[in-house]
């Protein structure tokens, strides 16, 4: 279990990564923005502001625990300990990428840390239940965590997966990131009740809502949920209030936001808040902080440099990996 300073460091790493991704993504896209242009084309969903969710939950996980993430996956991937260089190379679509350029930012897979994600909203729930079922069946004490946005909680897979998990007493934790919006649709317009965590009652499992984008409160709730799952007591549903600092995707004009809404979020930035807390409690010194800022900057720049120098795939590579060779199986 990592220390508070480590948590702070991880939050800074994610933030620095996302901010740099915003810049890298913008390369080649001005003066006229084109989604297809630049070294990083395609959609880009950034998670700056949502670091507490990833860090507060994943600090309780081991390498062998499973995480399934949604279309906005960077913070979860980094917190889970994904290979930052290969993740970045994948986002650049290069051969050194986790998927050699076939996946992209919504399709990051790193079996070494049991991480995967999907671009289909709600698609990560059933696989997490299946992984958790496998752990129970194999008498392993690993757990699975399915992360998804509040918008995903109205998808049928949410219901089917929570019911299955509760029935099977599967060691899985469902974490709903409530960042108030699903693209342009506010939670009140998509969700019939205020807190998805109350939907846990429909499955007879614990449900907890965590306010304030507070990494320590999140960590506390997650620690209980993970312990419960490891102890074979079954699933938990957590809903965590958080804030989206960028648009839904880069290029989103966000005309649908209320006046001052974005500023309010930015003002209650969880990272300076946590830093001030750590400084006040002498868990971090300004020098530590400076060192952390330097370290995360180096890590991110190194990953970006690694990605940039990795070769582009060859056209013929597009035809491989549709099917696995049958070596083990037969």
């Amino acid at each position: 279990m990592d220390s508070y300073a480590d948590m702070y460091r991880m939050m800074c790493l994610i933030r620095f990564y996302e901010n740099r991704m915003a810049e890298v993504y913008a390369e080649g896209k001005s003066p006229l923005f084109s989604i297809a242009a630049g070294p990083v084309p395609g959609e880009m969903h950034l998670a700056a502001g949502q670091e507490p969710v990833a860090v507060g939950v994943i600090r309780h996980l081991r390498r062998d625990d499973v995480v399934t993430a949604p279309h906005r996956p960077h913070h979860f991937a980094i917190a889970k300990g994904i290979d930052l260089r290969r993740m970045t190379a994948e986002i650049f679509g290069r051969t050194a990428g986790l998927s050699h350029g076939k996946g992209g930012h919504m399709h990051l897979f790193d079996p070494a840390v049991h991480f995967s994600c999907s671009g289909i909203v709600g698609a990560g729930f059933p696989p997490a239940v299946g992984a958790a079922f496998a752990f129970r069946h194999q008498h392993r004490d690993s757990v699975a965590v399915a992360f998804a946005g509040e918008g995903a909680a109205n998808q049928g897979t949410f219901h089917e997966s929570l019911n299955l998990a509760a029935l099977w007493k599967a060691p899985v934790i469902f974490v709903i990131e409530d960042n108030h919006y699903a693209i342009s649709v506010p939670k009140e317009q998509s969700t019939a009740i205020a807190n998805n965590s109350d939907r846990a009652q429909a499955y007879g499992i614990p449900g907890v809502f965590i306010r304030g984008n507070d990494v320590l409160a999140i960590s506390e709730a997650a620690s209980e949920a993970v312990a419960r799952a490891r102890a074979g007591k079954g699933p938990t549903l957590l809903e965590i209030e958080t804030t989206r600092f960028y648009g839904h995707f880069q290029g989103d004009a966000e005309t649908y936001l209320g006046a001052g809404e974005k500023e309010k979020w930015r003002q209650s930035d969880p990272i300076p808040q946590f830093r001030d807390y750590l400084l006040a409690h002498h868990l971090l010194t300004p020098d530590d902080d400076a060192a952390i800022q330097n370290e995360v900057a180096e890590l991110v720049e190194d990953a970006i440099a690694f990605a940039r120098q990795s070769p582009e795939p060859l056209p013929a590579d597009a035809l491989t990996d549709v099917f696995a060779p049958n070596l083990g199986g037969k």
């Binding site: 679509g93 795939p313 549709v322």
Partner: protein, 338 residues
């Protein structure tokens, strides 16, 4: 009236104009889906409708595709004519039962007593590195199952007229607009799709292919975003003395078999170009029609250019290797002419 002046529209504007005019004409026409309201649709197909018609008729839904597509089944039996947007066709898998087992079959299963005048419009296509779950076309799947009309416009004029026909049709119509034809600005778009569009409302009939360019040496039979690509290749190859006829099928259901047979009678050589997966789809069906109904006119083996049965990869290089390009079309035609 401005019918005489040449007014060019992007395909996105042509679609939203068609919907707006039909909503004006018929109060039972409504629009719902994800981000179709204030946002105007992720691809602009509902731009301005919320402002014009309000939240009673232009409705943002939760991310519950089975729920809100299935809702169109019941709403249409009670007098509404919903236009429902499935943001990307790639997401059909979470709602396919309501689409193909209910919406598509109820008319038949009820012996004709129930009808569903519903338009399900959805974005298709790649070319901007949106990877395997956001770049597919998949119209062949919907053309395979009975009860759905399948419409795939290649330009703004057809887009408006086909949308008007779709809204007025008493059957479920799947309306596929290609992201690379919409003229969105933030997304690469083929400017050949931006053509003159009359202001007044008009219908483009289903089941009537269009000769997008006459030719005598070889026929390219295609649909959607591949039509302007093929038309460009046609002009290019004219310089090289190859006369290419380009057929825009416009709709897969109903399918204009006569147009397919007519063009091969003329050219005796056919290349089928498709942005869908190659096998068990549109390109196979067109080739089958040739082998059934035009065998004697086929002087050369049919060729197919389509996505080579791989998911659409993310990397620009890899994606370009899977989606048929103008260059590949030209090369294939040249090879077929030798």
């Amino acid at each position: 009236m401005s019918t005489t002046t040449v007014r060019k529209l992007t395909m996105a504007r042509a679609i939203s104009e068609a919907i707006a005019q039909e909503m004006d004409r018929d109060p039972s026409v409504l629009v719902w889906g994800e981000d179709v309201g204030v946002y105007g649709g992720i691809f602009g197909a509902t731009q301005g409708l919320y402002q014009q018609f309000g939240h009673d008729r232009v409705i943002d839904t939760p991310i519950s595709e089975s729920g809100f597509i299935g809702a169109a089944v019941g709403a249409s039996t009670e007098g509404l004519r919903p236009i429902v947007e499935l943001m990307f066709v790639d997401f059909f898998g979470v709602a396919m039962d309501q689409i193909y087992n209910q919406l598509a079959k109820n008319h038949y299963m009820s012996g004709g007593s129930v009808s569903h005048p519903v338009v399900l419009m959805t974005a298709i296509g790649g070319g901007y590195s949106d990877a395997a779950q956001h770049s597919q076309t998949l119209y062949s799947l919907f053309a395979h199952v009975p009860g759905l009309k399948v419409v795939v416009p290649s330009n703004a004029y057809d887009a408006k007229g086909l949308m008007v026909s779709a809204i007025r049709d008493d059957n479920p119509v799947m309306y596929f607009f290609h992201k690379g034809l919409l003229g969105l600005g933030w997304m690469p778009s083929d400017d050949w799709a931006e053509v003159h569009v009359p202001e007044e409302s008009y219908e483009v009939p289903f089941g009537k292919a269009r000769v997008a360019g006459e030719g005598t040496d070889i026929s390219v039979i295609t649909i959607g975003a591949m039509v302007p690509k093929a038309a460009r290749v046609r002009e290019q190859l004219q310089q090289e003395g190859i006369s290419v006829e380009v057929i825009d099928l416009r709709t897969l259901v109903p399918l204009d078999k006569q147009a397919i047979v007519d063009t091969v009678k003329k050219t005796h050589r056919v290349l089928i170009v498709d942005e869908d997966y190659r096998s068990f789809g549109m390109s196979g069906e067109v080739a089958a029609i040739l082998a059934e109904d035009a065998l004697d006119y086929l002087e050369f083996p049919v060729k197919r250019l389509a996505v080579p049965d791989t998911p659409i990869p993310y990397s620009r290089v890899l994606e370009q290797a899977t989606i048929p390009s103008a260059d590949k079309i030209a090369q294939t035609i040249r090879a077929m002419m030798n």
